[in-house]
């Protein structure tokens, strides 16, 4: 897995906002098809790193390798902390947005949107408006929109942080199923130890001020993961390790 060319590579990346050093000496390499989690305390710069990976923001220093753009558009899907849907548009129109902006033929858009809505289990809600949906369903729409272009890379910025635990568990399982089926590379930002261990193959632990990766824990539990994994001793042990790494990182980042 480590032999392939990385989809994303950040080398010695720094990002400063005026006086504030958000990232410093940030290195990250993600292989094709990997599910990687960036885990860290709030304000550690993990969202900043994700925006740089997406190309929404450029680093102050350092080198960035991103997936080759497809006809000028970055080959990336992005899911924000909020569903970030257009309230004036139907579910289908929201999912169609990336394709509409590329001016694809209407028939192609319709069929791809239909297939994507079926994948996230929202076929019956194509004509509904976002405000008619629950928070979890809105997040599914947001994920469908990010994946409708079949991007090489899916970036997720704490997408499930605002959801209740039951909804979050279901969406975690559904996300893993989608990832297994579609095989894109995923970079997932979270501050939840449990979520990072459950979802990913690699947990990258960040410290703050300046933000950088200080530990990496490999999660090699087989897929699909389910309730059995969530309640296993292995899972608990991995969570403990990740949690200890996170605490060590937080102590390192705390003001003296």
């Amino acid at each position: 897995m480590d032999r392939a060319e990385p989809v994303i590579a950040l080398q010695g990346v720094a990002k400063t906002f005026g006086e504030l050093v958000a990232l410093e000496g940030f290195d990250l390499a993600v292989q094709p098809g990997q599910f990687v989690t960036l885990l860290g305390p709030s304000g550690c710069g993990k969202s900043t790193a994700l925006r740089i990976v997406a190309g929404l923001s450029e680093p102050s220093r350092g080198r960035v390798v991103r997936p080759q753009p497809q006809s000028g558009v970055p080959d990336v899907g992005f899911v924000f902390q909020e569903p970030t849907l257009m309230p004036w548009a139907t579910v289908a129109a929201n999912v169609a947005l990336p394709l509409t902006l590329r001016r694809l033929p209407a028939a192609e858009i319709a069929s791809r949107v239909e297939a994507m809505l079926a994948r996230v289990g929202l076929s019956d809600f194509a004509r509904a408006y976002p405000r008619q949906l629950s928070g979890g369903m809105q997040m599914r729409v947001s994920i469908a929109r990010a994946l409708v272009t079949a991007p090489a890379l899916l970036l997720m910025d704490e997408p499930f942080a605002a959801l209740d635990e039951i909804t979050r568990f279901r969406l975690n399982d559904d996300l893993l199923a989608l990832w297994q089926a579609l095989g894109q590379t995923v970079v997932f930002v979270t501050h939840s130890v449990f979520e990072s261990v459950y979802l990913s193959q690699r947990v990258l632990v960040m410290r703050a001020r300046p933000g950088r990766i200080v530990a990496e824990i490999a999660i090699d539990a087989p897929l699909p993961r389910g309730e059995l994994f969530r309640t296993s001793a292995d899972y608990a042990a991995l969570c403990r390790r990740v949690s200890q790494a996170l605490h060590a990182a937080s102590d390192a980042g705390a003001p003296a």
Binding site: R51, A54, G55, L56, G72, V73, P74, V76, F78, F80, E82, T84, M86, P87, W88, A89, L97, P98, T100, L101, R102, Y129, P130, R131
Partner: protein, 265 residues
């Protein structure tokens, strides 16, 4: 807003009706008991009778005022939205022009009307007044709306390399729609006020045919019942404009905006 129970809804219709009936009754009683002559205060019945008797005259005047109002409103809507979009495309342009739009707004229109009447043909001057008063709320609200786009949605459009036109048509204008409609609701009432002010200014210059002009004219003739009748028509016109625009706003936004939601969902 949570819709009330049936009982509450009935009360909300009944109570204003009852208050109106009581007011009219007191008005009528006062006129009768104090034996007030019609040139001091006409009874409600006389106002109603005048409304019927003068219907051809007042109807034509109402139509003239409504046409001016509608034209002023349409120009304000188109001009306000177009200028807001233009200013939104360029910070420099916004900084250069916006202060003057504000100055135009805070200058009392009644003081500008005589000047407009000197420089413009009378009908054009009346229209210009209606436009001037109604234009600013549309501009201000549209500007606010265009600037209140969700930051993450804007980032998403940036990520997908949307063109400026796509951002405007698919993101900024739809996001601004609730604000634009609020601006139009204010502009509707204001363009009626603008038309009335201009008619009054023009009327004193010796010309005009709208309702406000009829009020001034009837005043000179001490035809107080006709003044009341014309005033009543103006009020009704204002109410009608408000309800039409509120209805329009509701229809456009009912699917997605909180302000038009059927319940507190």
């Amino acid at each position: 807003m949570i819709a009330g129970t049936l009982r509450e809804r009935v009360l909300r219709l009944m109570l204003p009706g009852a208050a109106l009936a009581l007011g009219l009754l007191l008005w009528d009683l006062a006129v009768r008991l104090l034996a007030l002559p019609p040139y001091v205060l006409p009874s409600p019945g006389l106002v109603a009778a005048t409304l019927v008797a003068d219907a051809p005259l007042l109807g034509g005047a109402l139509l003239a005022t409504l046409v001016t109002t509608a034209e002023g409103f349409a120009l304000a809507a188109v001009g306000g939205i177009a200028l807001a979009v233009l200013l939104n495309q360029s910070r420099a342009l916004e900084y250069a022009l916006y202060p003057y739009a504000v100055i135009l707004q805070v200058t009392p229109i009644i003081a500008i009307a005589p000047l407009l009447l000197i420089y413009l043909p009378q009908q054009a001057a009346v229209l210009a007044c209606a436009w001037l008063v109604a234009f600013f709320p549309v501009l201000a609200n549209t500007t606010l709306g265009l600037n209140s786009v969700d930051r993450n949605l804007a980032a998403l459009f940036q990520l997908y390399r949307a063109s400026r036109l796509q951002v405007l048509l698919r993101l900024k204008l739809p996001a601004a729609l609730p604000h634009i409609l609020a601006g139009l609701r204010i502009a509707g009432g204001l363009s009626l006020i603008g038309a009335v002010v201009a008619e009054i200014a023009a009327g004193s210059a010796g010309a005009g045919s709208g309702l406000a002009y009829r009020i001034v004219e009837a005043g000179y003739r001490l035809n107080i019942p006709r003044m009341f009748a014309a005033l009543l028509l103006l009020s009704l016109a204002g109410i009608a404009i408000f309800f039409v625009l509120s209805w329009l706003s509701h229809v456009v936004l009912r699917h997605w905006h909180e302000s038009a939601a059927p319940d507190g969902q």
